[in-house]
């Protein structure tokens, strides 16, 4: 009997501890249910607040190149004020099919959030690695 209880608890423990990748995937699916993650090689998460310089450089890069990056999507998060956020970026860029807004802040979860932009390498819908962008990357 004790052994059964122990095994149950052990299984529960294992099943309840999620990795950063798993939490990321779970939260990403909540951002927009229409996103088909299998279609993309990279997901770029850009916080609206944090390392200002890194965020500006990341945004500038994707504003310029979004048309050429067919298998990359950009998601903006930490948008505390939609009205002010929209003043910062071109309308055509914000309306691009590969640009999404995390309006409900699912990616602000502090298990996965960062003050830096983050890049998620995807393979067959699964996250392979997560890396922070820094100024050197642009």
């Amino acid at each position: 009997m004790k052994l059964v209880i122990f095994i149950c608890f052990f299984v529960l423990t294992i099943s309840c501890s999620k990795t950063k990748k798993e939490i990321f995937k779970e939260q990403l699916q909540m951002v927009d249910t229409k996103i088909d993650f299998e279609k993309y090689d990279y997901i770029v998460i850009i916080p609206n607040e944090g390392c200002t310089d890194c965020i500006t450089k990341a945004s500038d890069y994707f504003i310029k190149d979004i048309e050429n990056l067919k298998r990359t999507i950009v998601i903006y998060t930490s948008i505390s004020d939609n009205k002010i956020f929209k003043l910062k970026l071109p309308k055509s860029y914000l309306n691009h099919r590969n640009v999404f807004l995390d309006k409900s802040g699912f990616l602000e979860n502090f298990e996965i959030s960062s003050v830096y932009p983050q890049i998620l390498k995807m393979e067959h819908g699964k996250i392979v690695f997560i890396k922070n962008f820094d100024n050197q990357m642009f």
Binding site: K2, S80, D81, G105, F110
Partner: protein
Amino acid sequence: MVGQQNAQEILQINVELPLQVHLVTLQEKEQDVRVILAHLTKIKNIHYNNYNECFTFNIINMKYFYILVTLLILSCKNNLTDKNDTFTLVSKSFLHFKLDDKTGFFHNSIMFSEDGNHEFFSFLNHINNSIYYYDVGSPSDINKIKLDIEGENGVGHLETISAHFFKDQNNIYIYNIAVGKLFLVNSKGNILNKYDIIDYKASTDNPFPEITALQPMEIIADDIYFPCGLNSRKMKYSNSNTVLKFNIKTLKKEYILPFSNKYDNAFYGSTFKYLPSITFNSKKIFVSFPIEHNVFGYDIGNLKNKVEFNASSEYVERKIKPFNNDVKYGLSKNRNFKKEDIFSLTTPDYQSIKYDKYRNVFYRIVHVRRTKEEVRLNNLLFSPNISIILLDSNYVKIGEVLLDGGKYHHVMIDVCKEGLAIARRDYYKKNENELVFEILKLEKK
């Protein structure tokens, strides 16, 4: 509500090793749990680990374990409601302040103030380096004072955390936190005077002003009082002062009002857990600390005749605990800042004390912060629920009201003529062209 949440939290039971049990996220009733466990099971060496937020103990007999879990669930269903509350806050009216195309919802520095027969609402708009103000009787008419960044009337670039004090239309104090200077400007944005408050280049352990709508600067006669944030971690806090008093006539600067000695015994987390809030009635200055149930009052001027009174929240009473039981942790090199932040943002604190001169009562504002799970599932990190503790002029608690952080903003709160004004974040989501405040009025139950 509180009881149900706790029961759910307790049910999350993990076993890491055969001889160890963790009761995860059992954040309150720590002492009760320890006592119950010790008495009923004869289990010894029960420890609460703040890093992992769990209780750790050795199991002697599984039978006791089942009894324990049942008892714990039952014990945590008790609510901490104060039965003596006689007053409450009721919704009286709404103020709809018009916003222009370039102005958003949140402003760190807001205030209601009187000038003659008029009441004004003002805020510092850091997006365009301006002060916006409204006659409360004409909330659709925006008055803007554009502040120069450079030149003869330059006040510098005002960051989000810079602050203002709207004394009247022609005397507005601007504190630029980035340069540590205080400016007095008129309604045209012309500088009437400027003062050096902080020299960041000087080597000093003195704290720096840190001002928000919940910790505003206050002016009494010629003295300006700045609540200050921590400049460095300490071994002992109670011999350090937390408020900078500056006299605009003599230019004398003086640090006053020491930390509560509770800070000497442990490490309480991020620096905002150390930020004081001050308020005044006609005789005394009062200071409230985030982790201290009591509020302290001193005579204005000589700071004598100290009073100390309990102003605790039913939503906080047993939840305030340190991140680490050793105050020296704050000075160690191996601090885990991420864990400190998470701990600090998921445990409640007393954020502000405000005196209402119109009704001769005090409001103590509590951030009833969300649990980790609530944050993870619903993005509620920066929308804690808000509890308003009501205290009469004799410092006796006369009520407490819990407000939904999804509707009410937790920082944009101030006393106005008609009551307590609280910004409604849900209204802004529906209409981004208005900043709406709900006025809550004190009423007998």
